[in-house]
């Protein structure tokens, strides 16, 4: 994968397949600490300890269609290449939290990429789920919560192209307004 927003899309797809109802995506850029944090937490089915131990093994997967599972190993590799780490906390029935840390200024850190397209793909594929996107750049913060959007548009579907275009533009503007640089 060439950008971190693609990893985020991939991990969120894991969350939705784990029957999560709400997924919180937090991106934090801290210039002084030279740290970029990606955090994806969900209220899905969670994992037991045996599964957790094998998460970054590319030859482990819970699926039956093929024998490899590259999502988390690729994210772990992206983090480690950029002087960071990957941590996963999970418990059955309670959900999962994936945290990836990157050295913000590391030359090998992948760019964050197109978060607006990632968010739109998440909503389009999973209109019945709720997503919260929080992007923090030092003291500035952008927040988007699909629960609020759904409440506001009432009987209009969140996948309506006009709604999606509105959200796409809002995300792009929001990220620019907080001065995000990742």
């Amino acid at each position: 994968m060439l950008e971190l927003s693609l990893h985020i899309l991939d991990i969120v797809e894991n969350s939705t397949r784990a029957r999560a109802k709400t997924v919180l995506i937090t991106i934090k850029e801290e210039t002084e600490k030279d740290l970029l944090t990606l955090e994806i937490s969900d209220d899905g089915s969670g994992m037991d300890e045996t599964t957790l131990k094998r998460l970054t093994d590319p030859f482990f997967t819970t699926k039956s269609v093929r024998k490899i599972g590259l999502g988390l190993p690729l994210l772990a590799q992206a983090a480690e290449t950029a002087g960071g780490t990957l941590a996963v906390i999970s418990s059955p029935g309670e959900g999962t939290k994936v945290t990836a840390l990157f050295k913000l200024s590391h030359i090998d850190r992948q760019p964050l990429g197109d978060m607006a397209s990632t968010f739109i793909a998440m909503i389009t594929g999973n209109p019945d789920k709720d997503f919260i996107y929080r992007h923090v750049h030092n003291a500035n913060e952008y927040l988007l919560d699909t629960r609020e959007i759904k409440e506001g548009i009432e009987d209009v579907e969140i996948t309506n192209p006009d709604v999606l275009n509105f959200l796409r533009e809002n995300i792009k503007r929001g990220i620019a307004d907080i001065g995000a640089q990742a």
């Binding site: 590259l70 793909a121 548009i153 996948t159 006009d162 709604v163």
Partner: protein, 122 residues
């Protein structure tokens, strides 16, 4: 500012309501973009963007867009499945933004299967 307000959402809701009244919203078909790790790495998000853009451009209604995981044919990604009401599903492989636009226009809207991109039926 970028904070979404109730007024913003009301405006967009009213606009959509006025448009919806002018056309029928019956189900025409479903397009599934395969979004496993392999699909995403191969460009499924670009395909999804292209599809959403084509739907908006054509002002098409009654099209359901969804995602699915890996189907086990990673080397054929990005893959897209088109299901038109009353017809067998068609799986397209090695898609890109332009192929997606063509499949949407010619197959989803006009009913002509784009066999040159198709991997399988059913």
């Amino acid at each position: 500012m970028t904070k979404i307000t109730i007024a913003d959402l009301k405006k967009i809701k009213d606009k959509i309501h006025s448009q919806t009244e002018m056309r029928e919203g019956t189900f025409k078909g479903k397009v599934t973009v395969h979004m496993g790790t392999c699909g995403i790495a191969a460009g499924a998000r670009i395909v999804m963007d292209s599809l959403m853009g084509a739907i908006a451009e054509a002002d098409a209604s009654g099209i359901v867009v969804t995602t699915s995981g890996c189907a086990g044919l990673c080397s054929q990604e990005p893959m897209v499945t088109v299901e038109i009401a009353g017809q067998e599903p068609v799986i397209y492989s090695k898609m890109d933004a332009n192929k997606m636009k063509q499949v949407f226009k010619r197959h989803v809207l006009e009913g002509e299967v784009q066999t040159q991109f198709a991997l399988a039926r059913g």
